[in-house]
Amino acid sequence: MLRGAGYRVLGPRVQDAVVGFGEVGRIEELTPGLRESQAPGRYRLDAAADGRWFGWTVGPQALKPLLFPPREVLWRSVRDAAGGLRFEPPQEAAPAVAVFGVRACDLAALALLDAHFLGGPAPDQGYAARRERLLTVGVDCARSAPTCFCVSTGDGPMLVSGYDIGLAELDDGLLVWPGTADGAAIVDRLPLDEALPDQLAEAAEAGNRAAASQQRRLPSRHLARALFASLDHPRWRQVGARCLACGNCTAVCPTCFCHAARSEPSLAAAAEQVREWDSCFSAEHSLLHGHPLRPDAAARYRQWLTHKLGGWHAQYGRSGCVGCGRCLTWCPVGIDLVAEAGAIVGDDSDD
């Protein structure tokens, strides 16, 4: 039905031994029983006997690459024979995309990316075009990974807001409900039975169990003051000694938005201005007069954490962390953001 409505449909597919959002032609292409185990520095796909469609939690990427691609042409500069320059927008039109299996944390991150790329005086046109044509089919998490801490950030594990269509998976079937008018236009055309009270209770219990099972929690949702008051804490030096400054955390973070822009010349008269994901863990990120302002991993980790959990409050009205735990899982040395934040601020939070 979504494809009939003109959507390119993405859903959970196994890609490179992880669950990602991939092209789904027919429902039979989805693999039931996908489940993963996660821990700091560890991700393994397992098979679950229960045959659930959404038994997995989060793969390495949320919606970020769909709206803010790792590489994107911003504009083309064309020089004519007389030396004049003409600037052209990129050619490709954004297709309508529907994504199945989006989690509450992914939707919280989407709202933050919206605030960053669309909320200011110069909205990003490529992002806006893709966002306009995105339909999200969210699903309540019925289990949490050991790396999940969305309860402490207030973003999950059950859907809160930002989805077009909501789903909750039951032992036998799915609950379906609309979240927006676009979602309702689809849901209204589905042959659905009214949900029974027992089914609603089963979904609520599963969400509550997933919430209660989370072991990690940030000390507070308001750490700006505490972090900026701890810039000399010895822990920065310690975590800097472990950190490889590889940038995996910023690549998998669903809200990290830094990007570098550069011109790609060609032998023809045109050059493309390209942007690519950048990371505050790279030396180039803080270059000033040829030297990095943040020469070592300790300074870069401090930049990342004070921004993610601190600076975002003043910029976007809330923390930049949605509790998805991806930065723990995909850190090659297993640095645990929750543990680092806890060690640095102790109980010294704003609330």
């Binding site: 200011g120 830094c258 790609e264 000033l288 007069h289």
Partner: protein
């Protein structure tokens, strides 16, 4: 070789007013090399052109200083927040700069001299590392002859034919009288110099909200999206590059920010 590019739009109606404030900047694109952030040094009243002073320090600026008359570049902007020149009307201005021709402050000097009656005393303190580094020597001498304008120069290394002071530019403050109730200080240059100047100015009774400074950071977009220029929760490209001291005091001088 430092040079000033004078640019005019070739795709905008001449009548269309192009508004900016001294201290704001453009992203200047050199085909097909890339973009660089450059402060606008000309006066907003000059609608038919604008100027950028360029020091060749990277691939784009090396190319920009080699341009010929009639060559084309791309312009995005103006971006950022400039100097508070409206609020400064009627006040004394103390400009303290260090380094090679601090473009964001040169634009202020020209702006004030063109509207001389709107402002009080103008004190220009400029420091360079070596006496030979001072560009536009004749220009500084000319500024010094303008009404109610004082120019004091300092070189860390004076050399011969240097009639001015030897030592840090901040030490020039000892030779300047200033009325803390009617003075605005505008600072531009290396951050260590800015911090030292702020300490002296506060000691002289200048309130924190009368001290303004220009910050330089890595910039790729100019519109608060790329993330490179952040200082704590502030984007230098949109919240600055000109900051009032009390807006940035918490992180100014903290290594790594």
């Amino acid at each position: 070789m430092i040079c000033t590019l004078r640019l005019a739009f070739d795709d905008c109606p001449a009548a269309e007013p192009y508004a900016f404030t001294p201290g704001q900047f453009h992203m200047v694109y050199l085909h097909p090399v890339g973009e660089v952030a450059l402060s606008i040094v000309s006066d907003p009243l000059d609608h038919h052109f604008f100027d950028h002073t360029v020091r060749p320090v990277g691939r784009v600026s090396e190319g920009l200083v080699r341009l010929h008359p009639g060559d084309r570049v791309g312009i995005r902007g103006p971006f950022g927040r400039g100097w508070p020149l409206d609020a400064a009307r009627g006040r004394d201005l103390l400009l303290l700069t260090g380094g090679l021709g601090c473009a964001p402050v040169v634009s202020v000097i020209r702006y004030v001299l063109r509207r001389r009656a709107d402002y009080g005393r103008l004190v220009i303190l400029q420091g360079v590392r070596h006496a030979d580094d001072l560009i536009w020597r004749a220009q500084y001498e000319a500024w010094g002859r303008a009404p109610a304008t004082e120019v004091l120069l300092a070189a860390d290394v004076a050399g011969h034919d240097w009639p001015w002071a030897e030592g840090p530019v901040v030490d020039l403050l000892d030779h300047v009288s200033l009325d803390p109730r009617r003075t605005l200080a505008l600072l531009c240059g290396p951050e260590l110099m800015i911090e030292a100047a702020i300490a002296v100015l506060r000691g002289r009774g200048l309130p924190d909200d009368a001290i303004w400074l220009n910050l330089e950071r890595n910039m790729h977009c100019g519109i608060g999206h790329c993330g490179h220029c952040q200082v704590g929760p502030r984007f230098v490209c949109t919240d600055g590059p000109v900051f009032r001291y009390d807006e940035i005091a918490d992180l100014l001088g903290v290594r790594g920010f």
